[in-house]
């Protein structure tokens, strides 16, 4: 059958059997995946498709730039807040607004708490069932489980045999009720599950504990942003004024009691990530360390914008506590500088996306981005436009565009960040990586895998919780020094703005590098473009035929039972896909775009 060599080093073979997974579940948003497996059930071709599109950036045209954060925050309710933060940074960049130190600390606390929450919920509630079999947990001996628990996680107090037996009893009753709820039709007899019953019971117990605990993590954002999901933000700083002991401090947004609340939650985040989350990954990883599929682009092409500015208003690489840089061609000895303003570096392509450019082969920098929907399929489509049986990946096949860094398909996210950090000698992260590798007794190459991606997320959660405490201490110290300022409102009034400006904001969302590019004209949004993590990772092919990170990571994986997509889910989930984020659009002229839609 037809084989094809991609410039980024993969041999695609569209022969064999085609497997379709739609919907891919336990992700944010909607996605489809198709693969070809050969006679040995090894994946030889992978096709990943974003299956939703909302057009938020079209909706932003003509709006007040100060309101943009609220619109773009609704791009995603899972990585809630990270788009809002990126947006206020873009507007502040355009209007040259400096924010107070306290605002920087509070924003960092909010962003870091998202990393902790998102990573933890991802691991336990979106990803764990790819490794953990809850039905098998019923066979566990609670006493042996208690011993396992105390061995892998000696500092977690909930480890008595009686406690674990109670959890097991509850799961048994649930299973025996015949109503399996979210566990219904799972792949519980598939040989891809490798854990002994005791490890399964421990993990299921923590699935439930984590479900209870996660609601606490985000209370930090309820304190500073008033609610969560979707807290409130402000161009020029943060909306929560500080009043420690002045007139009418009672009922002020930020008081001693509020800061104490944040401190308590932050400490519990550190404890849970250190004593439960990371140990669970190591325990589960120990049983799966022979399953090192899924590396994809992580060992060759990774990108990080960097985030968490130590001092306010300095977004240069040296001031960012999460590193910035790009690695290409697998050369970890050289970390390339990344400039989100450089029109040559970041470009988006659409030859295989359901959009059209004047020149479909062109790549456009986000400040000059154009999108016009064009829902057409290639001649190889099986089925119809409204009942797709099999996609034709030689034609257009996704609502996601294909962003490239200097022409390279890149992986972004926790593993990409850790690879860049490792290459740059980020001390804390390098120590973590070495510790995890030695605990699991695997070589550094093991990092470039599905499991490595999952482990990087766990390590990062521990780091983020500790840095959250660093910024809380910094906030308190600054207040103690007499600075209680939280917002700079000197340029809040649009009458003070120049007629035409442009700006860019970037962050590291939990899922990876995130950028927003804005043009403001006559105080209104003239152009708004987001390039988000899952656009990078879930990208379809480009003009040259390079495959994106999702597709690359699935290549050459062996499936135990092709009809049961356990391995596909396991690897796709390791990226924590967010499809509502990735499927966006921008047009220079919103009206024209609307006309295209209304047929």
């Amino acid at each position: 059958m037809a084989t094809q060599q991609t410039p980024n080093g993969y041999t695609l073979d569209t022969g064999g059997k085609r497997i379709v997974v739609d919907p891919v579940t336990r992700i944010e948003g909607h996605m489809r995946c198709e693969v070809n497996v050969d006679e040995n059930n090894i994946i030889r071709n992978a096709v990943s498709t974003g299956t939703m599109w909302r057009g938020l950036e079209v909706i932003l045209k003509g709006r007040d730039p100060r309101d943009a954060w609220a619109f773009v925050q609704r791009i995603c309710g899972v990585c809630t807040g990270t788009h809002a933060l990126t947006s206020v940074r873009a507007v502040e960049d355009a209007l040259n607004i400096d924010i107070p130190e306290n605002a920087n600390s509070i924003r960092n606390i909010m962003q870091l708490s998202l990393q902790v929450h998102d990573h933890l919920v991802h691991f336990y509630h979106l990803h764990a069932l790819d490794w953990v079999n809850p039905v098998n947990a019923l066979k566990a001996d609670p006493k042996a489980t208690s011993e396992l628990q105390q061995k892998v996680s000696p500092h977690h107090p909930k480890s008595s045999p009686g406690y674990l037996r109670d959890v097991q009893t509850r799961i048994r009753k649930f299973v025996e009720s015949g109503q399996l709820g979210p566990f219904k039709n799972g792949y519980w007899t598939n040989p891809a599950y490798l854990l002994p019953p005791e490890a399964d019971l421990m993990a299921v117990t923590h699935y439930l504990e984590a479900l209870d605990f996660q609601k606490e993590i985000m209370t930090v954002r309820t304190i500073f942003g008033g609610k969560d999901t979707h807290p409130n933000w402000l161009v020029g700083g943060v909306p929560c004024a500080i009043n420690m002991d002045g007139d009418m401090a009672a009922g002020a947004p930020i008081t001693m009691e509020r800061l104490n609340y944040v401190r308590g939650v932050t400490q519990r985040c550190i404890d849970f990530c250190k004593n439960v989350y990371l140990p669970d990954i190591l325990a589960i990883g120990g049983f799966y360390k022979g399953w090192l599929y899924g590396g994809g682009l992580s060992g060759t092409s990774v990108l990080a914008y960097g985030d968490i500015p130590d001092r306010a208003n300095d977004y240069s690489a040296g001031n960012l506590m999460m590193p910035q840089g790009a690695i290409i061609n697998g050369d970890l000895s050289r970390v390339h500088e990344v400039d989100v303003r450089d029109p040559e570096q970041i470009q988006e392509f659409v030859p295989h996306s359901w959009y059209k450019y004047d020149d479909d082969k062109a790549g456009l920098h986000p400040w000059d981005g154009v999108t016009e929907a064009n829902y057409v399929h290639g001649p190889g489509l099986i089925g119809t436009k409204t009942n797709i049986k099999q996609l034709d990946e030689n034609g257009k096949y996704s609502w996601i565009k294909a962003p490239r860094w200097r022409g390279h398909a890149m992986e972004v996210g926790p593993l990409a960040r850790y690879v860049v950090g490792y290459a740059q000698g980020h001390e804390y992260w390098t120590d973590q990586i070495n510790s995890v590798l030695s605990t699991l007794d695997v070589p550094v190459d093991a990092l470039f895998s599905t499991l490595g991606r999952t482990a990087a997320r766990g390590m990062e959660a521990v780091w983020a919780a500790e840095v959250q405490m660093y910024f809380l201490d910094k906030l308190v110290a600054n207040i103690k020094n007499g600075d209680s300022s939280t917002a700079n409102t000197t340029s809040f009034d649009p009458k003070t703005w120049p007629a035409e400006v442009k700006g860019v904001g970037f962050t590291e969302a939990p899922r990876g590098a995130l950028g927003h590019w804005i043009r403001i004209k006559d105080t209104k949004i003239d152009n708004y473009q987001c390039v988000v993590p899952t656009t990078w990772n879930g990208s379809p092919r480009d003009n040259e035929g390079n495959i994106g990170a999702f597709e690359a990571s699935l290549m050459n994986t062996k499936m135990e039972v092709p009809e049961e997509p356990v391995e596909i889910l396991r690897t796709l989930h390791s990226f924590d896909p967010c499809l509502a984020c990735s499927t966006h659009v921008m047009s220079e002229d919103g009206e024209e775009l609307a006309d295209v839609k209304v047929r």
């Binding site: 909302r54 015949g178 609601k215 002020a252």
Partner: protein, 358 residues
């Protein structure tokens, strides 16, 4: 015959006495008084957990995220002990064919006896293919499941009103549940908000399970128990409004003292929701308490009602006892500039609907 929770417990050798004790403990755990124990016992003895099929259209998953943050009851207890969440693509183990099979199995086994929960909405343009599930338009899945459901819960502002993707110019013609053409005629409970408050979401479900009926709805289809008063009506900063004490700009003296946020754009006077009473995340805070004006996220079309920092104007006097039904059609306007406000007057204002749902 469905095996009930009571059957399962009895089979495990649990006595009836222990079972009743369990029910009273369960009542306590759910934050209900012991008087509810007999009702819980009755429900567990006679009924399987009610199946819920939770579908996702165009959305951002903020409603699901809010749901799992519920402090009382815990999401864990809702999922394990109160409902049977048989389909929810955000958390379900199965994918692809095995996931879609669950929908047909549920329809076959529980036809007319399951709840359809809708998060997000259906785009109608491009033949519905702006949101694709299993190769087909989401809107087809929505209509199909609705046809067999007992009742529908429209979670959040997407399913209730359209929300952000339906803001002008609504590029995909995103359409809320009740406006989808050829939608089967089923009772719809709207639980708006972007997202709705966690404990409001779980309370709506627990109310239906405990009292075995739909909550009373206002004429827009929202449960009166949470949406019958404006945020302004019970806002803890209301005395500052009445006293004419306002935040003039962010981080000024008024902001530090917790004055009223009306002048920096607060939409509390026109927004029906429980934020100032139930509050958020276990009653910890709400937007106004944290210093930001309400943006009105539970109101129909709130994205297209002027800027979030523009002041409400043209306020007329309405007593706080007026509910959404009584003043629902009152029109008002919004401007960004200075405007006279009348301290001491209960204000409300219903912003003119744009009416462009297309």
């Amino acid at each position: 015959m469905h095996e009930t929770f009571y059957d399962v417990m009895r089979r495990q050798g649990i006595t009836r006495r222990s079972f009743l004790k369990y029910c009273s403990l369960a009542a306590g755990a759910l934050g209900l008084s012991p008087a509810f124990a007999p009702q819980i016992a009755e429900a567990m003895e006679t009924k399987p957990r009610i199946p819920v099929l939770w579908l996702h259209g165009l959305e951002c998953t903020c409603c699901s995220e809010s749901f799992i943050r519920s402090a009382h009851p815990l999401a864990k207890d809702v999922i394990l002990s109160m409902i049977s969440l048989d389909y929810d693509d955000t958390i379900m183990a199965a994918a692809g064919d095995q996931a879609e099979a669950i929908i047909e199995e549920t329809i076959k086994k529980y036809d007319g006896n399951f709840i359809l929960a809708v998060e997000g909405n259906a785009p109608l343009d491009e033949d519905g293919m702006y949101c694709i599930i299993a190769g087909k338009p989401f809107v087809e899945q929505l209509r199909h499941v609705a046809e067999h459901a007992k009742a529908i819960i429209s979670w959040g502002s997407c399913a209730s009103w359209g929300c952000v993707q339906a803001a002008r110019p609504n590029p995909t013609r995103a359409t809320p549940t009740h406006k989808v053409p050829n939608m089967p005629d089923k009772p719809i409970i709207k639980v708006p908000g972007c997202p709705p408050i966690s404990e409001v979401m779980t309370a709506v479900i627990t109310y239906m399970l405990t009292f075995e009926k739909m909550p009373s709805l206002d004429n827009q289809g929202r449960p009166k128990m949470f949406y019958s008063q404006r945020i302004h009506d019970k806002c803890y900063r209301r005395p500052h409004f009445d006293a004419g004490q306002f935040v003039e700009e962010f981080d000024d003296e008024g902001a530090k003292k917790g004055y009223c946020l009306y002048k920096v754009g607060c939409k509390g006077p026109t927004t029906y929701n429980a934020c100032s009473t139930v509050r958020w995340n276990g009653g910890l805070s709400f937007p106004i308490q944290a210093g930001h004006p309400c943006i009105g996220c539970s109101e129909d079309g709130f994205w297209d009602k002027g800027g979030f920092y523009d002041r409400l104007t043209d306020v007329k006097g309405f007593g706080i006892e007026a509910n959404a039904d009584e003043i629902g059609t009152t029109a008002a306007a919004i401007v960004g500039g200075a405007a006279a406000i009348h301290a001491g007057v209960s204000v409300v204002k219903r912003i003119a609907q744009k009416g462009d749902d297309a």
